[in-house]
């Protein structure tokens, strides 16, 4: 029972978000699985409930304030909101010249405005309940860049500073805000992305070899960091970015 209270996990219907939802439930939290994929959210919430946890599913497009408010209300109905994990995100692979307005806006809305709206909705509940913690899913590409990801890099880079702002603003309210910055992990987005390659295994190895540990990260390793930041073990840690990347960013920064 290291994480009591209610946790909201956006993008919780699949991939890293799903793994995080399970991990927070294992740590004792009641979990609200908020995802644009309503059926997926339902599936994950059912699995959590079957394993003995308290859970609820909410269809939620994080770019829509009304959806985010709805998820927050559902969470508040389960108890005091203690944890918000902003995990919903979309990727984009287009060069600056090729990137369309629609693509730029879509990525910025989901990956940057989404966390803003979620924090704006959840933090007042945390403040009212004496504290809480936000963990946002950043990315190696919010710390360093690779060609072909302008919108994603801009959004994830912005997210880091957004979280630092929020951390400073609510430091006195016992609300902590931190970022985890994974590189490619063997889950969700990356599996889908690599499956499209002509030789998926070769691509996986090539990406793995970019980092000094020569392997992909795992969902468990990301969950460990999220659980740490969400728990009291990190009670003096706020405004920080933890890379989970096999030292990839360290080499390039």
């Amino acid at each position: 029972m290291t994480i009591p209270g209610v946790a909201i996990v956006t993008g919780g219907a699949a991939g890293l978000g799903e793994a995080i939802a399970h991990r927070l439930a294992d740590e004792g939290a009641a979990v609200v699985v908020a995802d644009i994929d309503a059926a997926g959210a339902r599936r994950v919430a059912d699995a959590l409930t079957q394993s003995g946890a308290t859970a609820a599913a909410v269809p939620c497009d994080v770019t829509r304030g009304a959806d985010v408010e709805q998820a927050t209300q559902v969470a508040a109905g389960l108890g005091p909101i203690r944890v918000l994990v902003c995990s919903a995100a979309v990727e984009s692979r287009q060069s600056v010249i090729e990137c369309t307005d629609e693509e730029w806006q879509r990525v910025l809305d989901v990956d940057l405005k989404g966390p803003f709206l979620c924090m704006k909705a959840a933090i007042p509940h945390m403040v009212a309940n004496g504290g809480g913690t936000v963990v946002a899913m950043g990315s190696t590409l919010g710390l360093i860049v690779a060609p072909g990801h302008p919108a994603y890099c801009a959004a994830k880079g912005g997210l880091v500073n957004l979280c630092k702002q929020a951390a400073i603003e609510h430091a006195g309210d016992n609300v902590r805000v931190n970022v985890v910055a994974p590189s490619a992990t063997d889950t969700g987005l990356f599996i889908r992305f690599s499956a499209e390659a002509p030789d998926p295994e070769a691509l996986r190895q090539r990406i793995a070899d970019l980092n000094p540990m020569h392997r992909l990260g795992t969902a468990r390793e990301v969950c460990d960091a999220v659980a740490f930041l969400a728990s009291d073990a990190a009670s003096y840690t706020s405004g920080c970015v933890i890379p989970i990347d096999g030292a990839l960013a360290a080499r390039r920064m």
Partner: protein, 263 residues
């Protein structure tokens, strides 16, 4: 030697065409004047037509050349038009200096969705639009330099600037992205100004209670012990625009009197 003519004054931007957004006043105007002094033809872009016209007049009074272009950079069609106007008039583009910005303060939970959208559009999307429109011209004309104005608040957190800080930090990464993607031909760098004593800064100050005390407090946090001047920033922009910085790309140059280093 005071007052002696500068005999071997080297013009750093001869025949270059430089587009500067937000150059109807403040930092943008100072850069426009300095760039023109160094031989550039300057496309003076601003949402304020009067300010832009005044800047062009100032350039011309010193023997420089420029044109005023109206644009609200939070509007994509305006951004496309401003780049097209520059190329139509001068036939080329060498320097794109994205300086225009809006600054709204307010704690995260008080920041409205409208303020968020306007801040992200003006301070981040606008620069993406401008670079997307300008890059084909920069590439066609043998390369060029992109300079983006971020902020100390894009490097560190501060109270009350959620949207602004997020936009400016995003801009830092967007710029690095540009540097990596278009490396051989186009350089892209960031200037990160701290507190610069411009007309806009003064306007904000007018609304601040206890303004003098506030400025004193601010000054104490800046290692060099003074606020910045628009000319301080323009000098960095000139360096980044010119071949003096031919091997500098993807850099973030603070114009903050040491503020970010302290923090």
């Amino acid at each position: 030697m005071t007052g002696a003519p500068v005999l071997n004054f080297q013009r750093l931007l001869p025949d270059k065409v430089a587009l500067i957004t937000g150059s109807g006043s403040g930092q943008g105007r100072a850069a426009a004047q300095l760039f023109a002094d160094h031989g550039a033809r300057v496309v003076v872009v601003d949402i304020n037509d009067e300010g832009a016209a005044e800047t062009v007049q100032l350039l011309e009074e010193h023997g420089g050349e420029g044109m005023a272009v109206h644009a609200d950079v939070s509007s994509r069609p305006d951004v496309d038009r401003m780049v097209a106007a520059a190329v139509e008039r001068y036939g080329r583009l060498d320097v794109l200096y994205n300086n225009a910005a809006v600054q709204m303060s307010g704690r995260l939970v008080d920041c409205t969705e409208e303020d968020w959208d306007l801040t992200i559009a003006t301070n981040l999307s606008a620069i993406f639009w401008a670079c997307r429109a300008a890059l084909p011209h920069l590439l066609e004309d043998g390369g060029g330099s992109i300079i983006n104005t971020a902020s100390t608040l894009g490097l560190i957190g501060s109270e009350g600037y959620a949207a602004y800080g997020a936009a400016k930090a995003g801009l830092v990464l967007l710029t690095k992205q540009l540097a990596v993607e278009y490396g051989p031909a186009v350089r892209a760098n960031v200037i990160a100004p701290g507190s610069i004593d411009t007309p806009r800064f003064r306007k904000v100050l007018e609304k601040t209670p206890g303004a003098e005390q506030f400025v004193d407090g601010l000054r104490r946090t800046i290692p060099v012990g003074r606020l910045g001047r628009a000319e301080d920033v323009a000098a960095i922009a000139l360096f980044l625009a010119s071949d003096q910085s031919a091997y500098v790309s993807g850099a973030v140059v603070p114009a903050d009197g040491g503020l970010a280093a302290l923090r």
